[in-house]
Every structure is written in structure tokens, then in C-alpha cells.
Amino acid sequence: MKNLSDIEIIESVKRGNQADFALLVDRYSGKAFSMLKRLLKNQMDAEEALQDSFLKAYQSIASFKGESKFSTWFYRIVYNTALTILSAKKRKTEKEMVSIDEEFEIETFDNEIYAKSDNVNKYLFGMVDRLPPRYALIIILYYIDDMSLNEISQILGLSLVNAKVMLHRSRTALKDLVIKHNLQEELT
């Protein structure tokens, strides 16, 4: 049962097997939670948004026609749910999400995170969490979820060019930090 594809599970849920939706929850809860934590910067909000996202996905599963991958469709719901929570709370983060020209403020946290980290990976993961939400989200989707920039641009409602610019900016900002602390590895 666990080897079923997303589409097979969705068809089963559409036929009325509500319990099969749990397979999708098991499959995507970790990835969606990682996204939400980076977007909302708050564990409790992320947990609430995670449940809301799955509930919305279940309620609108009839409208999923399989034109895109389920993950793309579902992450779009997750992203919109996070935006709704952010705009409801009128957080500063909301302002940060308006434009791709937003300022990186990661330098502010650099010394603190660098001091706390005992290896380069831990340090860079900490810095990814300090990237502006959409930039961090792009990193998560691209590196952890192995999504293409095309899929990422669909989820975030961006043009492909903007998604690429944001990925490059994030990568370059992290690279600058690596050089600053002289952490670069020898090429193999």
C-alpha cells in the first residue's frame, strides 16, 4: 500500500477511501513542515499551518486534475496558507516577502550562529534559516526536495527568471560568508 504513487492514492481518496489520505500526510508532512518553519519562523504557527494545509488539500482534492505533480500543487497550498497566516498577524516578515529586492540581514546573525556552530554544515544550515523566507524556501525546495526551478516558480507564483535570481542570490550570500570565515574546502 505504501508503494502507491501519489496519483494512485489521490484516485483512491476520490473514490471515497478517506483513510488513504493519511499516506499523503505521512509522505509530505516532513517536507511541508520544513517549508513552514522557514516561512513562519515559529514552531507553533508552522504546526497549525501544516494541519490547515492538509485539510485544505483534502477538501479540494477533487479539483486536482493531475496537470502538475501533486507536490507542486500541495506546496502551493502550503505556501498560500503560510502567507495567509503572515498577513493575518501582520508580521514584519510579510513586508519582507513583497519584493525580491528585499534586503538580506543575515550578517546581523552571523557572529552568533558562527560561534554556536561546530562545523561548516551546521553553520550554513543556521544561516539558511536566517535568509528572508522566500529565499530560504527556494533553498529547501531546490536542495532538499530536488525540485526544478520551474516547479519552484509555480509554487511561489514567480517568473522562472526571478526564481533563478533568488536562488543565485542566496547561494552567493552564503558563499560570501564561507569566504569571510575562510571555510572553503579544497576541491576534490
Partner: protein, 172 residues
């Protein structure tokens, strides 16, 4: 120069660099120590990000989500039940009124032909008379029974909904 090397390395990491670009990058790396340092730093970032792991969703996420789905489904179906009861109620009243009006036959003495200046007041009087006839006849029993029955059913449903809502609040 720095911007150029950054652009070339980013394209290289995205597998978007054409052969001419690869040659250009190679030349830059051979001639310039800083460019090589840039590439090493990018590679370090790339290597770290590829090893990034997912956060685990909080324990019990799946049962909680499934519980919310089941609850939402139940709420939706009781909504339909509520709508059905209300529709039944409205249809019942409309049908009762229709039957009552259809069965109404004014007697000769009830017709007051007036074509004079006070026709307006007679018109109002006639309409009032129709209504009083409807509610004073045998049909009032039918209407009364139907309305009472529907009020009892609706009252019971509202009471049940309220009780369920209170139980749900307590269980939170």
C-alpha cells in the same frame, strides 16, 4: 570581474553553462587565485546544502490531520441536515398557505361592491377580511398542526446542534 565569475559559477552549478562558458571559467580559474577561491567557497556551500535534512513533522501529525478531516466532514454533513430541515420548514409553510388560500371561497355577502370615492378603504377592508377568513376557518387547524410540528423538529435540531457544539468545545 567578480560578478562575472559568480555568474559563471552559478550557471555551472545549475548545469547551464555551455562549452564556451566552461572554457571561459577554466581560463579564469587558471589565471586568478581569487576566482579559484570563489569556486571553492561555492562548492562548500553546494556540498553543505545537498546534505541538508528535513525537519521531522511533529509527532502525531497524521492522526491529528485525519481527525480534523473527519470532524470537518461531519460538520459539513450536519450543515446539509440543517439546510434540509429549514427547506422542509419553509416548504411546509408555503404549502399550508397555498392550500388555505386555494380552499377559500368568499360568500356573496362577503363581496362588497364599492365603486365610490372610498374604494381605497374598502380595498383594505377586503384584504383584511380575506386574511381573517383564512385564519378563522378549518384550514387554520392544518396550518397550526404543520407549523407546530415543524417548530418542534427545528427546536430539537437547534438544541442538538448546540449540545454538540458545547461537547466539541469541552473536548478541545
Amino acid at each position: 570581474m567578480k560578478k562575472n565569475i559568480e555568474e559563471l559559477i552559478n550557471k555551472y552549478l545549475d548545469n547551464e553553462l555551455d562549452p564556451a562558458g566552461v572554457n571561459e571559467l577554466n581560463n579564469l580559474l587558471t589565471d586568478d587565485e581569487d576566482s579559484l577561491k570563489e569556486l571553492k567557497a561555492y562548492k562548500t556551500v553546494e556540498h553543505a546544502l545537498r546534505e541538508m535534512e528535513l525537519d521531522d513533522a511533529p509527532a502525531g501529525t497524521t492522526p491529528r490531520v485525519m481527525h480534523r478531516i473527519a470532524t470537518a466532514k461531519k460538520a459539513k454533513s450536519s450543515n446539509w441536515f440543517f439546510k434540509a430541515v429549514i427547506s422542509f420548514f419553509i416548504t411546509g409553510i408555503a404549502a399550508s398557505l397555498f392550500i388555505a388560500i386555494k380552499n377559500y371561497h368568499p360568500s356573496d355577502k362577503e363581496i362588497i361592491p364599492q365603486q365610490t370615492v372610498d374604494s381605497v378603504s374598502n380595498f383594505i377592508g377586503e384584504k383584511t377580511h380575506i386574511f381573517s377568513s383564512i385564519f378563522s376557518g378549518d384550514d387554520v387547524k392544518l396550518i397550526g398542526t404543520v407549523v407546530t410540528l415543524l417548530l418542534i423538529v427545528t427546536g430539537y435540531f437547534i438544541f442538538e446542534t448546540h449540545r454538540n457544539f458545547r461537547n466539541k468545545l469541552k473536548s478541545l
